[in-house]
């Protein structure tokens, strides 16, 4: 652990933010085109975030601020753990469980901050978000367990590098197609894309956890959302699409995967939260189990 590690870490956070925010802007345009609109400028997302930072803000007590800082801090730290095209700020810390649990720090911080605002909508939103998490994470975890069992490693970068060098069919998505489909579905849940976005439903519960945020806290929440998207898409990319040999390939793959989710969610309606749970526990969980049993007992996908 030297100073350089931390500088790299800082750069990773910054790079992830810039990359994902641009991509979000572009995807807003993509969605607009899907709806036969012209859409905003590609850098609109930056403007939105910086505008939020430029406004005045309120606070509902120390936990409201502390939670927001903890949330963004936790997420930023998680970004540092994510291996991108074999690069890592802190080598050896990319265990998948570490990543998914450090991610939870950010979520907990956000939930805490939201509930700390004293707004019932926020609490409802948090309750939905946590339920949603319980729904999508279980099928995903089953797939992850299968992967770890298969490759005997829990390191994300190793899992990514195993898939590289044998062409597109070396990807886990093709070797374990059921698991791949499950985790892409889970990605929708992770990103809170439609049809799994009931926890931020603006018209029903006034955007849920975000209800009381304005000004800099809102800006932080937007930043958080960008970074979280980066983590989640990167995770799926590394686990199932072979990561990237070089940064460019990584970015291209990333953009394609993210745009794909965006396009699909653009034409989706919204599940109620209990419908989402039922869905995840019926289809993806079943597929994940089948995949797991195939790998463990029949030795598929080696």
């Amino acid at each position: 652990m030297t100073l350089m590690n931390f500088i790299y870490g800082f750069l990773a956070v910054l790079g992830a933010f810039v990359f994902q925010t641009s991509l979000t802007g572009i995807n807003r345009k993509v969605t607009a085109r899907l709806q036969k609109r012209r859409g905003p400028k590609w850098y609109q997302q930056f403007i939105d975030i910086f505008k939020a930072f430029s406004k005045s803000s309120i606070t509902h007590g120390w936990v409201y601020d502390f939670g927001a800082i903890m949330a963004l801090g936790g997420i930023a730290a998680t970004v540092i753990f994510i291996p991108v095209a074999g690069m890592q700020a802190f080598p050896g810390l990319d265990n998948i469980f570490v990543i998914s649990y450090v991610l939870a720090v950010g979520m907990l911080g956000m939930a805490m901050s939201a509930a700390g605002s004293g707004n019932p909508w926020a609490s409802i939103g948090v309750s939905r978000a946590l339920t949603n998490m319980l729904a999508y994470d279980i099928p995903f975890m089953v797939v992850v367990f299968t992967l770890i069992y298969q490759h005997n490693t829990g390191s994300v970068s190793e899992l990514a590098s195993i898939q590289q060098g044998v062409g597109i069919l070396g990807w886990n998505f093709f070797k374990l197609p059921l698991g791949g489909i499950v985790s892409v579905i889970a990605l929708f849940g992770m990103l809170g894309k439609k049809p799994f976005d009931s926890f931020i439903a603006p018209a029903e519960i006034a955007s849920g956890p975000m209800v009381e945020y304005g000004g800099k806290q809102l800006g932080m929440m937007f930043t958080l959302h960008e970074l979280m998207t980066f983590i989640e898409v990167s995770l799926i990319l590394n686990l199932f699409f072979g990561g990237g040999e070089t940064l460019l390939i990584y970015m291209v793959k990333y953009a394609i995967l993210y745009t794909f989710t965006n396009i699909v969610s653009g034409v989706m309606p919204r599940f109620k939260i209990d419908q989402a749970v039922t869905f995840f526990y019926k289809v993806p969980l079943g597929l994940a189990f089948i995949q797991g049993l195939l790998v463990i007992y029949l030795g598929w996908g080696y």
């Binding site: 400028k41 939105d48 910086f50 505008k51 955007s207 000004g215």
Partner: protein, 183 residues
């Protein structure tokens, strides 16, 4: 009434105004018939998002408060409450003649006649109702105003707080109602 001085913005504010002008999030208070003009404005025909505008769920997140139609006294109380929950800088746009001069409700015992007595309106859009074209144009105008630092109603409201409050008290008696339904 105290008038706000023009062009006394710092560099920070100029940059901020650029961002604010290009990203206007609306709290769109559906007070009257004008609300129906908003959906076409937002969707593919006129596509408000190309200006960086979009609807927001709560006043905390929003920059601009759209008053789309007549305001009864009951509604006005809630509008004022919402406005005060918004974060600075914030802008108010009045839709249609009802907010201007009472419109067809000029003699109603329950409807106010002139919004800018109670809230600092940055921009009125005339018409009964204004069509989406008019709305789009006036949003362009609002963007220009923000860019130039002319949309400073929120400062005005702050500096003339007593005046606004007095007007509100005269017409409404009490903004934050305490009665059996709210205790």
């Amino acid at each position: 009434m105290h008038e706000v001085q023009k062009n006394d913005r710092s560099l920070w504010e100029v940059v901020g105004d650029y961002f604010r002008a290009n990203s206007i999030w609306m709290k769109w208070y559906c007070t009257g018939c004008g609300a129906i003009e908003m959906p076409p404005t937002m969707t593919s025909r006129f596509d408000m998002e190309q200006l960086g505008m979009g609807p927001m769920a709560t006043p905390r997140q929003a920059d601009v408060l759209l008053i789309t139609g007549y305001l009864s006294t009951k509604t006005l109380r809630r509008v004022i409450y919402s406005y005060e929950q918004m974060q600075d800088p914030k802008y108010v746009v009045g839709f249609g003649s009802c907010t201007l001069n009472g419109g067809i409700y000029y003699d109603s015992y329950a409807t106010i006649n002139q919004l800018d007595k109670y809230l600092p309106v940055d921009l009125y859009i005339a018409g009964c109702m204004p069509r989406p074209e008019a709305i789009m144009n006036s949003f362009g105008e609002l963007i220009e105003m923000i860019k130039k630092g002319e949309a400073k109603g929120w400062k005005h409201y702050k500096e003339n707080h007593e005046w606004y409050k007095a007007n509100q008290m005269d017409s409404l008696g009490e903004v934050i109602i305490h009665d059996e339904f709210h205790e």
